[in-house]
């Protein structure tokens, strides 16, 4: 019998059973599947059972007593999806975000997400909201979405089952690719880019890997139901992935004070989330922020233009001065250029 068919038969049998179903009965009901040697049959049933558990089928084995016999039972109440009584707003939030993530192409656990949306929509009737929200996630280069999406799916499974992955990684900091084994702890999305954080066996510590830079990826297939590692209880994704260029953990934290004027003053909170803002004379806003990667901040300040100045510390001021001077020098009129009228 086809495995899908056999497992569905088991579901139908166990959902209907009023008494525990013993192993002997199962063998009797499915002679061509669970026949053969005891060992082979048991192994086959163990695999089927694992699949049922994976599907969320609440199967347990009960030891018999005076009242009932040994066997497998299913807790029906724990099987059937109950109505979640989601309000219109709650359903809209889950639906908007879920469908936007699916439409975006690269979101880990896409299959899981699609099933989840179907299930929460089961009791909602026909009128499910499908707002037009679209996100371009994961791909840095055009046409990369499919590859990133496939990698995310593998990483999601590996994270869920705690299996190590073997990856070939192309870091822009190194001329050649590196091959390493990583225990995947989690996935974070920052400004449209997905990052894998995990314990890197090559470097012997926690490392972050941008998913679009992974060239090859293999998940350990040995003992699929045994965890290869445990994620430390105090692990937090946020502590290892930066939102903004100045948050990369490269140097010790230093406080930088910026002076924002003109149109930038009213946008200060949006430009530097988390910064302490203070209004100064003439509509100017002062922003104090902790920085662990100064060059990242200075480059961002330069791109904002002359309305963004560095006030302190001196090291940050001179860094901006150096970078701006270099840009001016690089763009100096070339000898022999015509002077425009």
């Amino acid at each position: 019998m086809d495995r899908t068919e056999r497992i569905l038969d088991l579901v139908a049998l166990l959902l209907d059973a009023r008494e525990p179903t013993s192993w002997a009965e199962l063998r009797e009901h499915f002679p061509s599947d669970y026949g053969g040697s005891d060992d082979a049959a048991e192994r086959k049933f163990e695999r089927d059972k694992a699949e049922l558990v994976e599907l969320g089928f609440p199967l347990t084995y009960v030891q018999g007593d005076d009242e009932r016999r040994d066997g497998y039972i299913v807790d029906r109440d724990a099987y059937y999806l109950p109505e979640a009584d989601l309000s219109k707003e709650e359903l809209a939030v889950l639906y908007a975000a879920g469908s936007a993530a699916l439409a975006s192409g690269a979101f880990p656990g896409r299959d899981d997400l699609a099933h989840a949306l179907r299930k929460i929509g089961f009791f909602a009737g026909e009128s499910l909201p499908t707002p037009r929200v679209r996100m371009e996630l994961g791909a840095v280069q055009e046409g990369q979405e499919k590859e990133v999406s496939a990698r995310l799916e593998l990483l999601w499974d590996a994270c869920a089952t705690h299996k190590w992955v073997q990856l070939v990684y192309a870091s822009p900091k190194h001329p050649s690719v590196t091959e390493r084994r990583v225990d995947p702890y989690g996935l974070a999305l920052r400004r449209g880019v997905w990052t894998l954080v995990g314990h890197c066996h090559l470097r012997g510590g926690l490392r972050a890997f941008q998913v679009h830079r992974i060239r090859e990826l293999k998940v350990n297939t040995a003992k699929p139901r045994t965890a290869d590692f445990e994620v430390p209880a105090d692990f937090s994704l946020d502590a290892h992935v930066a939102y903004f260029p100045w948050q990369h953990r490269i140097h010790a934290v230093e406080e930088v004070v910026l002076r924002l004027s003109g149109a930038l003053a009213s946008r200060a909170a949006g430009l530097f989330p988390g910064a302490v803002l203070e209004a100064a004379e003439g509509g100017v806003v002062r922003a104090r922020l902790p920085v662990t990667y100064l060059d990242g901040l200075i480059r961002f300040c330069l791109s904002l233009g002359a309305d963004c100045r560095v006030e302190s510390p001196e090291g940050a001021r001179s860094r901006l001065h150096d970078m701006a001077t270099r840009i001016v020098e690089k763009h100096a009129p070339e000898v022999g250029d015509k002077v425009s009228a």
Binding site: T4, I7, D9, A12, L13, L15, D16, L55, G56, A78, Y80, L81, A84, S87, E90, L91, A92, V93, A96, A97, G98, A101, D111, D112, A114, H115, A116, R118, F122, R132, V133, R134, M135, E136, V140, Q141, C159, A160, G186, L187, L189, R191, V231, L237, A263, R299, F300, L302, L304, G305, M323, A324, T325, R326, I327, V328, K330, H331, P333, D337
Partner: protein, 308 residues
């Protein structure tokens, strides 16, 4: 996940779905399950073989297609789908984070209710997996009301500050929200400008949803200008040092021409001087506009202003 697993999940949803929507068309059912018509008909064939011992005629699932509509007479207790698995709930909860904090209270209460429909035994695993995706995108507050306005097809009003101009009121038909490289945009028809426009959410102020209804065009789709794909005849040649080259190659792929010193050179759109200048400056001296002269001069001017 294996094909068997995917198929089982689909089938355990299919039977209850038809049970709840008797007479659903084959096409609508295929769409609900995201499978092709052919694959769906194959699944229905398989289901007619599913039943429970002793496998008498009444012990089988009785599901059939009549006049292109699907019915189930005997569902063999598959009248509701299974609860959400830990993985399904975690993926859903993590995706909801994408719209945080705009989604506020509704998200918090939705997640609480979600925990109530996961099998109790899977709760701990759900919480563990939920922690494994961090997709909070720092969505702006405006996302909530704008999502609602798009859904309810109502015009919005806001003050908008275009770069280099003072803020002015706009009245807009909102069509689509788009997140691109961590930045949120609204695409819509601007009454003030009488044209389609793309607005950055972080430049909106005093947003209000009006009672004026509108009918959106069928294919309104926002596209954010991308220098790598919107090259015009007015292209600008930009050269990058060997330090910046790997990052540029990553974004431009084969369009980044290697130079003998280890750097690269690319052609980008030159129609927005403001964008180009900002972009070149963001490389902090590792990028140089080669030509045209006007663009070189604009970058030099902006850098000198920062020195001032």
């Amino acid at each position: 996940m294996s094909n068997v697993h995917e198929r089982l999940r689909r089938l355990l949803f299919l039977v209850p779905y038809v049970s709840k929507h008797p007479g659903v068309t084959v096409e609508a059912l295929a769409r609900a399950l995201n499978v092709s018509r052919e694959d769906l008909l194959e699944e229905l064939d398989l289901l007619t073989c599913v039943g429970r011992p002793p496998f008498n005629p009444d012990d089988y699932i009785d599901i059939y297609v009549d006049n292109d509509r699907v019915y189930v007479d005997l569902d063999q207790r598959l009248f509701a789908p299974p609860r959400l698995t830990a993985g399904e709930a975690a993926a859903l909860a993590a995706s909801a984070e994408l719209l945080r904090p705009a989604t506020g209270d509704a998200l918090r209460s939705a997640l609480q209710k979600l925990e109530g429909i996961i099998p109790p035994a899977a709760l701990e695993r759900f919480r563990g997996m939920y922690r494994k995706i961090d997709a909070s995108a720092e969505a702006p507050e405006a996302l909530g009301p704008l999502t609602r306005a798009i859904l309810e097809r109502r015009e919005v009003m806001f003050d908008y500050a275009s770069p280099g101009r003072p803020s002015e009121p706009r009245r807009v038909r909102p069509y689509e929200l788009l997140s691109h490289r961590g930045q949120w945009y609204l695409q819509g028809f601007c009454h003030t400008r009488q044209d389609a426009r793309l607005f950055r959410l972080d430049r909106m102020e005093a947003l209000a949803v009006t009672d004026t209804a509108f009918e959106p065009p069928p294919n309104a789709r926002a596209d954010v200008p991308n220098p790598a794909r919107s090259r015009t005849e007015a292209s600008v040649r930009v050269r990058f040092s060997p330090i910046a080259a790997p990052y540029v190659k990553e974004r431009f792929g084969r369009d980044a021409r290697p130079l003998s010193d280890g750097g690269v050179e690319v052609l980008v759109a030159g129609d927005s001087e403001r964008w180009l200048t900002q972009w070149v400056l963001s490389f902090g001296g590792e990028a140089e506009v080669v030509e045209p002269q006007a663009a070189r001069a604009a970058v030099a001017r902006a850098a000198r202003a920062s020195l001032g």
